[in-house]
């Protein structure tokens, strides 16, 4: 992608009066760290030493919406692209500055400015970190009820830009259901408020037109979000069902009775098997190094190195090529299952697999998928696991929990008690830590989240699973349930080497899986967003309705300076003015 021709010095001179010297940087080390987000495709390259090529021309850290507006006006005048940046935890390349330009890091706008007890809302700036935000609300007796597994590393603005979902979304809703209003800097450099009791206002609901726009229509600088009281009661339970289809049916019955558990998770056979054996042992800390005493509150103290080790860890020298134990090799699948699954069962399984068979399987994931399914079934026997949780006010939650559990049992689910639920809760963010061990082991991992109405859900499940299984090992769970349907979360993994082949495989997986999702009548994204990754599939997702999106783009960002190339919009400046129907200009 061609970088925009920008006079970097002129750009600097124009921006310094807005943010000052200290909140602007053109240092290479700063620029480099804004060149990527957590898109796994970039990680495949990084594994092999291909550092991401994209760089902004300048990074700025504004502290107010007025500064953001002034920055946008500069970008407009100078015809420079502008990319908003929050936590950089997106997995679709949404924050990659493909044309360079100005990256606006919003993390210095991180105030929770007010919590309104009567309205049950709060005003929070876009750059606030999710975990810090939630903890601050908890201290005041509230929760947002939004718990994405990226909560530690994502920002409020990022959630809104990508229509994020949290693990308790079945009760609290996705982020778009929690937002009452936004403050947005548009591509024209104006500040607009899509705020207040909008119901009385005429015209479309602009809040919902900006939420999910991934920085292509405006820069969200703050939001008014709806709060709930911190739960007085939380009930978590494990259930076992005979098969995925039985589980899906049980969830549908619960949801359509008007019941709203907070957590609904149904793991397919492989996911059940792998999730059964906890990733890092049974306790959260157990997977860490065994060094260091443990204090009373469970904190592991700093390691006390022995005399032979030296005060500071010794940084190993540069690796010569890829070390043998990092490659695919015969042990790869054992390690794959080990890293994803861990625990004794996984090791037993690993041991039972003949090494040659594994080596062959890794290069032929279809075989491995067919191999893994029956194995997983044999190991877990009991079918698929479900985690069901409710939380909220003491009285109502208690009543609702009884109704939910009864309904599940009537649908054939077998109660496994509280332990599986408690275990899930303790490890609920663990999925985000799984990436590292897999990449270290020479694999790449990615996830895909789709959704459909119940009628199409199993078709969607089989279609996408089959599409991915051509290239990678795949498993899935169902979560985020609604009265009319549910989302499916696929996790897939394959070899990350050699890098060119891995990236080809990666691209094929996504091309095939997205096409399969569209054909089966599902949406291509439930909560990760589009970014660069799914841009090419936007035409199939929205068809003629892309006209509406392009209309919004022309209205809010007539010069096309905001995050070009994302959401399937053209990867060039002036896109807003481009004639309708020129999708060809998109990547």
């Amino acid at each position: 992608m061609a970088r925009t021709a920008v006079d970097a010095d002129r750009l600097r001179r124009a921006l310094v009066p807005i943010v000052g010297e200290r909140r602007l940087s053109q240092r290479e080390s700063d620029l480099a760290s804004y060149g990527r987000d957590m898109w796994p495709r970039a990680l495949i390259g990084i594994r092999s030493g291909q550092l991401p090529p994209d760089r902004p021309h300048v990074v700025v850290w504004p502290e107010s919406e007025r500064e953001v507006a002034a920055i946008v006006r500069v970008a407009r005048e100078m015809a420079v692209p502008i990319v908003p940046y929050g936590g950089g935890s997106g997995v679709c390349g949404g924050a990659v500055p493909i044309l360079g330009g100005i990256t606006v890091d919003l993390k210095r706008m991180n105030e929770l400015s007010s919590v309104d007890r009567d309205e049950m809302t709060c005003d929070v700036e876009a750059g606030m970190n999710g975990e810090r935000f939630e903890r601050e609300l908890n201290r005041r007796g509230y929760t947002l009820g939004h718990f994405p597994s990226s909560i530690y590393c994502s920002t409020v603005g990022g959630w809104l830009a990508c229509r994020a979902a949290g693990q308790m979304s079945t009760k609290y809703g996705k982020i778009e259901d929690r937002v009452a209003g936004l403050t947005v800097v548009t591509g024209r450099g104006d500040v607009i408020h899509t705020d207040g009791p909008v119901r009385a206002q005429r015209g479309p609901n602009w809040t919902q037109l900006v939420v999910g726009s991934e920085g292509t229509l405006g820069i969200i600088t703050s939001a008014r979000l709806r709060l709930s009281p911190t739960p007085e009661l939380r009930v978590l339970r494990g259930f076992e069902v005979e098969s995925v289809a039985h589980g899906v049916e049980a969830i549908r019955r619960v949801m359509q009775r008007g019941l709203r558990p907070a957590v609904v998770r149904l793991y397919d056979e492989i996911d059940t098997f792998i999730s059964h054996a906890p990733l890092f042992g049974s306790k959260r800390t157990a997977g860490r190094g065994d060094e260091g005493p443990v204090t009373t509150d469970g904190l592991r103290l700093a390691p006390v190195p022995g005399p032979a080790q030296g005060a500071l860890p010794h940084i190993p020298p540069r690796e010569q090529g890829v070390p043998s134990d990092h490659g695919g090799g015969p042990g790869a699948i054992a390690r794959l299952i080990g890293t994803l699954g861990g625990g004794d069962t996984a090791r037993r399984l690993g041991a039972r697999l003949k090494r040659d068979a594994i080596a062959a399987a890794m290069s032929r994931p279809r075989l491995l998928n067919s191999l893994a399914a029956p194995l997983a079934e044999r190991v877990s026997r009991r079918g698929c696991r479900m985690i069901i949780g409710l939380e909220g006010s003491r009285i109502r939650t208690g009543v609702e929990a009884r109704l939910v559990f009864d309904e599940l049992e009537r649908a054939g689910a077998v109660d496994q008690g509280e332990e599986p639920g408690r275990e899930w809760f303790e490890h609920r963010y663990a999925v985000s830590y799984k990436m590292s061990p897999a990449f270290r082991a020479g694999l790449f991992v990615d996830t895909m989240e789709v959704a459909a109405t119940w009628e199409r859900l199993m078709d969607l499940y089989h279609a996408v699973k089959q599409a991915i299984a051509q290239h990678a090992v795949v498993m899935a769970h169902f979560s985020h349930a609604y009265s009319e349907g549910c989302s499916i979360y696929f996790t897939f993994t394959a070899r990350a080497e050699p890098v060119a082949a891995a990236q080809r495989a990666y691209d094929s997986i996504w091309r095939d899986a997205l096409a399969a999702a569209s054909r089966a009548g599902g949406t291509i994204s439930h909560h990760h967003g589009i970014g660069l990754l799914k841009g090419p599939a936007m035409a199939a997702e929205h068809r003629e309705a892309m006209t509406l999106l392009r209309g919004l783009k022309a209205s809010l960002d007539p010069d096309g300076i905001l995050n070009p190339g994302k959401l399937g919009l053209p990867a060039s400046l002036g896109a807003g003015r481009a004639a309708d129907g020129d999708e060809a200009a998109a990547r």
């Binding site: 009567d118 309205e119 049950m120 990508c162 229509r163 996705k174 778009e176 009452a180 104006d190 500040v191 607009i192 408020h193 899509t194 207040g196 009791p197 119901r199 009385a200 206002q201 005429r202 015209g203 479309p204 609901n205 602009w206 037109l209 900006v210 999910g212 991934e214 359509q256 009775r257 008007g258 019941l259 006010s393 009285i395 109502r396 609702e400 109704l403 959704a451 459909a452 109405t453 119940w454 009628e455 609604y482 009265s483 949406t523 439930h526 909560h527 990760h528 967003g529 589009i530 799914k534 997702e541 929205h542 068809r543 006209t547 509406l548 999106l549 209309g551 919004l552 209205s555 309708d580």
Partner: protein
Amino acid sequence: MSAVVAGLGGDLGGALEAIVGPLNVRRPPSALARRFAVDGASPGGEIAYLVQPGSPSEVAEILTLAGRVGAAIVPVGSGTRATAPSPHAAALAGRPRLFVDSRRMCHVLHLDETSLVVHVQAGLTALALERIVAPRGLSLGDFPPQVLGSTIGGLLSVRTPGKSSPRHGFIEEAVLGVSAVLADGRTVHTRVAPRRASGPDLARALCGSEGTLGFLTAAVLRLHRRPEARFLAAHALPSFDDALAAVRLALREEAAPAALRVYDAAEAHAHLGADVFPTGNDEQAVIVVATAGPTDLAACDRDLVASAAAAMGGTELDERLAELWWKRRTGQERGTALPAPALQVTASPKRQSAVYRAVRVACAGLGVGLRAHASRFEADGAVLFFTLVGPSGAALVGDELVRARGMAEAAASAAGAVLLGTENEELELYTRELRERLDPAGILNPGL
């Protein structure tokens, strides 16, 4: 018929007949024509047709035709909306108008009983849809029956408050997808999914756009199973403020009633009878509530509201009062016809009491009597309905009404209420640009 048409518009009428058939093109009823008459001009001097397309492709052809001849498209639904002259009529001056009535597009296209989702054409009224799905034990949800007389297209095109319930939210949130014809004749169908993260919710661009961005032809809506149980209850509270506080308390405890209403003393007397309160006190208020759902949960919600009312000093009233309210609400019993409220405003939870007090003070200053109730509670607030009455107890009319309403509106607005039809001025430019982009010839509901 065709002679009349030919007399009015020559080729245009013929072209319309060619699209929808001669029986579905006629001269607009005079009431409609008057609403859109330009000041001073006598209705009938303009070229105008009422067209009733039977399918989206006919709509597409009509729009294409309108674009070609520079005609204005004015969607009309079941005609439940105001009959007052349109303030936007001037924009239609000198242009042929096509009043497009969607009521022939009144079919249920697909009822998915697995997902509880219905794909329905925009010309069907919500009430008719309710009648179709009721035998299957389904319903659109606990929406106020008064709003269900509109066509689906009309319901979704105009985002007025009140199309909501505490249990099922705002009707717009029940929309999983819409189909519409754009000004250039292209048909768009937004992707149907429970939730998406594939860009903004494009269906929301069409909902609330009052027919200016596209002509709604169909929608995919969420349905609910009819509740297993329903409970009704009524409570007397020491004051309107206490009643609102009790409602907040109950909602905070996560009660999700199907419907909830708070009357002030005067309104309670007018609606529920003179002997509502066991003891006389003009400051008292009444909460009536209906809860629904699985039996235990509906009972739980009823009890949560009851204990919240008790906590605010309330006493339980005879259940028959609630039944009376419910029967009237659902049209099972007519009761004495009451005049439509003079003023409706929305207010967020924090502002509701202040708005009520401000309007009371304003009316007292004018020597005008006031009755009020609050209803349609949802996450962002509720709707307050005010009826202004004269010394005789009869609702104000004419200039008196206009004057008093103006004062009451100003007072409510100053206290933080949002008046119906308010526009967000910051967004005007963006709305205009969006329309410009989608409808460069300005054929869709111009003037709005």
